[in-house]
């Protein structure tokens, strides 16, 4: 598999001497759905900004689909679509113009870009608002506009910096579905997010940044398997027995109908449910008490 993005020893020190990146190495394969996680100030946006040409690097090498950024920066820009974290369009421009202009900067004619803009605006449910000024859009609409703009030149790699921040659940889900569709069609997607659930449900591989360093880079599956236990909540339709015998698992009665169960690595949920059934507990609803990735994330980024 060809490498979509390769970062070697990337360093960034700002004018105020803040070391935002302390020599990070990252590798993203073509066709991957890659999560870049990190708390605020970890260096995610800085790394993305350097890759996309918005920031200058202090040291290090970047290659995108074989193009070296030092010598082929404009070729790299053709391959990448960026949806940044902050709104960065002219609020006094009609939204269709924003897309057409962005396509024009990539050398796409106005006639051709109008066709592509129509497809994307319809996909983002913004077609009816194409003549409206961008400032009149809601926060969620503005995010979708930026996603459409990132896709207008049909990039090979899509970089999304907090794409669903401030977007309601319904639209977030539809954006996820669309991103999955793009990824299935072969687009490499790199995502930074604060919604760990988003990374867990979308991404196959992950890197965690902490204070300008990569503290973990692996597959999502391997990372999650590192979590030794999982906490679930079982809800019963009938009142729970006063005493519940723990057999290979730990449980705590939260109220008359709810039971918190901690699953160890040697026991699965089916065994627990069978065990509880024998004790007269009829479970009719199961839910996770915590996000596994969140647990890991906090552990990996914990300050000494």
């Amino acid at each position: 598999m060809q490498v979509a993005l390769s970062i070697q020893g990337l360093q960034k020190t700002y004018a105020n001497h803040l070391k935002a990146l302390k020599g990070i190495d990252l590798q993203v394969e073509q066709g991957d759905f890659f999560a870049l996680l990190g708390s605020n100030g970890a260096g995610k946006t800085t790394a993305i900004g350097i890759v996309c040409g918005l920031l200058t690097k202090t040291a290090g090498d970047i290659e995108v689909l074989g193009f070296d950024q030092n010598t082929r920066a404009n070729d790299i820009k053709r391959l990448i679509g960026l949806m940044p974290q902050e709104f960065n369009f002219n609020p006094f421009e009609p939204i269709e113009e924003i897309l057409i202009n962005q396509a024009g900067y990539h050398g796409i004619s106005r006639a051709e870009s109008r066709v592509q803009a129509e497809i994307l605006l319809k996909k983002m449910q913004l077609w009816d608002k194409r003549f409206d000024m961008a400032k009149s859009l809601s926060g969620g609409m503005k995010r979708r506009l930026m996603l459409a703009r990132a896709l207008i030149h049909q990039p090979k790699i899509l970089i999304l910096d907090e794409p669903t921040a401030g977007v309601d659940v319904e639209i977030r889900r539809s954006m996820w579905a669309y991103l999955k569709e793009l990824n299935r069609e072969g687009m490499t997607i790199i995502l930074t997010t604060h919604y760990l659930e988003e990374a867990e449900s979308l991404c196959r591989n992950i890197a965690i940044l902490n204070e300008g360093e990569v503290v973990e880079q692996t597959s999502m599956k391997k990372l999650l398997s590192k979590v030794a236990h999982q906490v679930i909540i079982l809800e019963s339709a009938s009142i729970l027995p006063k005493q519940i015998k723990e057999d290979g698992f730990e449980c705590e009665r939260l109220d008359d109908y709810s039971l918190q169960v901690v699953l160890g690595v040697d026991i699965n949920i089916t065994d627990v449910l069978q065990n509880l059934s024998k004790q007269g507990v009829s479970v009719d609803h199961v839910r996770s008490a915590q996000n596994r990735l969140e647990t890991l994330f906090l552990r990996l980024t914990k300050k000494n």
């Binding site: 404009n74 709104f87 369009f89 002219n90």
Partner: protein
């Protein structure tokens, strides 16, 4: 690159056209007032300047002043706003060479200078009848002046950190230089010291050359004026390109 350049120019023209009440209309009103007060009411008392009726004499200077202020205002406000709302990043993430970005913004300034200058010219023609002595000299002076002040506005926008910074230069530097550059008078009427000092003001050469194109009278040599303009354009274009390429106040 041609499409990218065209896109920047179209975007710029649409931008100032959308706000024509702020950009195109006011200079026409202001000019009409200048002509009414300085030309119509006071001009008759002043008489002639370099053998030409005062009303006619001040017209080239007034038109060029609108070209200067509008070319400057267009690039300074547009590029500063692009920095301010971060929409400049749309260009930075695209494969647009820096010289194309610069050329696009400068062209936007020149187009606005031309449209407003033409609007003022049409407004002026309601007040006084006149013919253009040399279309070539008039157009060349307009073009180089508009390029020069678009570049100056661009540099101002790069360094500007606030909205105050984009009004300081036009108010405290550009406007005095324009008024003292012989817009309303011939420098011949000044004492020798002020005549000599005026020759250090580049706007003097532009106004004088524009007047030569319109009326056929001047106090300096056309080639000298063009040389001054060209040298300044080369200097400011080099500075603008360097600042843009270095990402001064654009990239961190």
């Amino acid at each position: 690159m041609w499409i990218a350049y065209k896109t920047i120019v179209i975007k710029e023209v649409l931008r100032f056209s959308r706000i024509w009440v702020q950009t195109i209309f006011p200079p026409i009103i202001t000019t009409s007032l200048y002509l009414l007060i300085f030309g119509g009411l006071m001009g008759e008392r002043i008489g002639q300047m370099q053998g030409i009726d005062y009303l006619q004499y001040i017209i080239p200077g007034i038109i060029l002043m609108t070209v200067i202020t509008n070319s400057y205002a267009n690039t300074v406000s547009s590029f500063f706003l692009a920095k301010f709302n971060h929409s400049i990043e749309e260009l930075l993430v695209a494969p647009v060479p820096y010289w194309v970005i610069l050329l696009g913004y400068i062209s936007g300034g020149v187009v606005r200078g031309f449209i407003v200058g033409l609007g003022v010219f049409i407004a002026v023609s309601f007040f006084v009848e006149f013919t253009i002595d040399s279309l070539f000299i008039t157009f060349m002076t307009f073009l180089l002046t508009a390029i020069l002040f678009s570049l100056a506005g661009f540099i101002n926008a790069i360094f500007a950190q606030s909205f105050d910074d984009i009004s300081i230069v036009p108010t405290f530097i550009l406007m005095p230089m324009t008024y003292l550059g012989g817009m309303f008078y011939s420098i011949d009427i000044l004492p020798q010291f002020w005549q000599d000092l005026s020759k250090f003001n580049p706007i003097y050469y532009m106004v004088d050359s524009f007047r030569l194109g319109f009326l056929g009278v001047s106090t300096s040599d056309f080639l000298t004026s063009m040389s001054v303009l060209l040298v300044m354009i080369i200097v400011l274009a080099s500075v603008s390109f360097y600042l843009l390429k270095k990402g001064v106040n654009i990239k961190t």
